[in-house]
Symmetry: C2
Subunit: 420 residues, 2 copies
């Protein structure tokens, strides 16, 4: 293990990435796939150095008193590293998103015009705890012909650096220049901030992590940002909702994995449905250890529920807590989602097709569900293969982002002297 | 004419636009087209009020000593207003970019997934002199189901306001709420700056105008920006360039319309070609009144050329001046373009296919030309219909942006109780 140093030169690393991106951009699909397979093999072979580094992070984490869930996310094992390697092999199998001719036409004057997909160039990845992002993002970047500058969270810095060292040793045996993967080995906030304005060298920033990280990047970056992930998702249970569907979806969307962005945080319930089904709802919530924060109607009808405050509507719990609001109609539900939603995933349960249609048309979000759990907003669940994040913005890419989100286009014009 | 007032409430206007966008988003294509045709008729009928307002702007402009070219761009006539109206009729004929099902598949569990195009929501348009943008941008926004907040330049404010008043009178006779078109009637810089951070109400900002306007928006906005237009475009004349093609393209790309963004500003010439063709080149430059700023080789070989300074390579002339640089090979040309280009349009003239391929592959720009003039980077020249601007960024849209650039997507999931 190299000893960590704060002597990093972020700009120099970004420049090296940009230079490497040029070489990478013109490699063939086969050359890129061979490199990914090689990286997978090297990860499998050298897992011990990664686990040793991870031990250091875990020791530091425990000393700093991180909770068990955090330590769990940070922990690597031989099996987890094997999963990283398998992830790279899976990416190698995906279609190359570059070099695709989207359109091809010839003007009357004979000028041929092609719109072709090309890599973005250099991706700046700013992320928190989980070391798997280091491998996943690198694999997706390289497959799409992009160089990547990685800035991971401090708590996983030793693990991340060990992973990148293994990747670098692997890249030395491939056509991809090792400079195409840059790791900013700094725990200083300034190192991250330098990436925000490096428009000359970095083509896009992708923040992955909590709301405050994402907000810091969006508000301060002049480099274009692909905004990902904060999901204050809602389930609306309509007056005409089927009881079994509503309860099954509520439980799944809340408890399957409460800490992920496509879990629901608020259930909006039509007052008539609640009045009729309060007993079954109460029973289901209790069985699944879901704690309720509700409006006054809810507090009155559901035992053990506590009054919801403004933050209950606005923030993600990422736990088995839920906010419940009652409404008089679908319009009120839609307005609540507009006031508090993060344009991620929103679901309606109803047997009334017209009400569902209104909801799907008027709610402004990446993914809208009728009678299904919000948990399907996920690249692998939808069959996209690996994903680089879930976009909650409207430009460039919306919803789960696979390899095509890491490309742009070029217009290529072939002429024989055409002038206008 | 209403008297202009600085009592504007930008936030209130943006809110009204957002509210109107919801009504607009669910109108049918026919309803939107009928509205555009109505607006065209009303512009034709009420052109006199627009010309009267324009007179005021022209009077102010002359008093402030604006040059003839500027006054020319600002001047409206009955014919120009008729062109605005015709532009709206042309937009009515274009395909509706919303409601298109890009993909439709069903997961194994029976969940149906559709990716459908939808309007962005509210577009913030920040632009300079030409009043035609007021009509063109409004037409494209409404056709794509978007509300628009217009912030035009001070020099055309009376004309722009008169145009919007006519548009409002027209909209009252249509299904589109008149609040869908908001005009910020302020000459204060603060009014523009308020738009920069209005993420709650505005989905995208599109700046159109000079480099400093665009830079101000890109550097200060937290609302996502569609960056348009600055074109420091290059023509590379290779050692193996055909003389007639090279000279014809040079003259066209420089002199056809020197003030537009797809005109060239620098010619990079292979030293061997220059040595061989300096007489013919000199003659062509002279015949076309092109003033040359060159490197030392150029100054030596081309009579009347003056030494180029750093700004000659970096800035747009937007006039019949040109910078000329000599290089030893295509790699040096590509490096110069990377150092000074704005990723807009770049052209190579060569009979060597391999050199052309290298250029097209390695130069990072929206449009790359082999043996043709850069002047074709234009929505109407390429057959896109009207354009909202030419994107020089890589995310969302690159090159000329037609109606599809004003849309995003939604994933619509139809289930019968699916959980994960």
């Amino acid at each position: 293990m190299t000893v960590l140093t704060e002597n990093v030169n972020v700009e120099e690393q970004a420049k090296l990435a940009k230079k490497a991106a040029k070489t990478l951009a013109v490699l063939t699909t086969e050359e890129k796939n061979e490199a990914l397979l090689k990286l997978a093999d090297v990860l499998d072979e050298e897992y011990e150095s990664i686990l040793a580094a991870n031990e250091e992070d875990l020791k530091n984490g425990r000393q700093q008193g991180f909770d068990a869930a955090f330590i769990d996310r940070l922990t690597l094992t031989k099996e987890r590293v094997e999963e990283f390697a398998q992830g790279l092999r899976d990416v190698a199998k995906l279609d190359d998103p570059t070099g695709i001719v989207n359109s091809d036409w010839t003007l009357e004057n004979g000028l041929n015009v092609q719109q072709v997909t090309v890599p973005l160039g250099v991706i700046g990845m700013i992320y928190e705890a989980r070391p798997n992002v280091t491998v996943d993002a690198t694999g997706l970047a390289l497959k799409s012909g992009n160089a990547i500058v990685l800035k991971g969270g401090s708590s996983a810095i030793t693990s991340n650096q060990a992973i990148v060292e293994v990747i670098h040793r692997g890249l030395e045996q491939t056509k991809i220049p090792k400079d195409a993967v840059q790791f900013i080995a700094s725990t200083h906030r300034e190192a991250t901030q330098q990436l925000f304005t490096m428009k000359e060298h970095i083509d896009v920033l992708i923040p992955r992590g909590g709301g405050s990280l994402i907000k810091a990047v969006v508000n301060n970056a002049t480099v274009p940002v692909l905004e990902t992930g904060v999901g204050n998702c809602h389930l609306y249970v309509d007056a005409e909702a089927d009881v079994q569907k509503a309860l099954a979806i509520l439980v799944n969307a809340k408890t399957d994995r409460p800490a992920v962005c496509n879990a629901i945080e608020t259930v909006i319930i039509h007052q008539d449905w609640l009045a009729e089904n309060k007993a079954e709802l109460t029973e289901t919530l209790k069985e699944n250890d879901i704690s309720v924060h509700g409006d006054s109607t809810v507090v009155e009808l559901i035992p053990n529920s506590v009054p919801a405050e403004e933050t209950d509507w606005a923030d993600e719990y990422l736990s088995k807590d839920i906010a419940i609001k009652t409404v008089a109609d679908v319009a009120e539900a839609i307005q609540h989602i507009e006031d508090y939603g993060t344009k991620h995933s929103e679901s309606i349960v109803t047997e009334n097709e017209k009400t569902a249609e209104t909801f799907m048309k008027l709610v402004d979000a990446a993914a809208l569900y009728h009678n299904a759990s919000t948990r399907f907003t996920d690249g692998s669940a939808l069959g996209f293969g690996s994903e680089i994040g879930i976009s909650t913005q409207k430009l460039h890419a919306r919803g789960p982002m696979g390899l095509p989100a890491l490309t742009t286009v070029k217009y290529l014009m072939q002429g024989n002297g055409q002038v206008r």
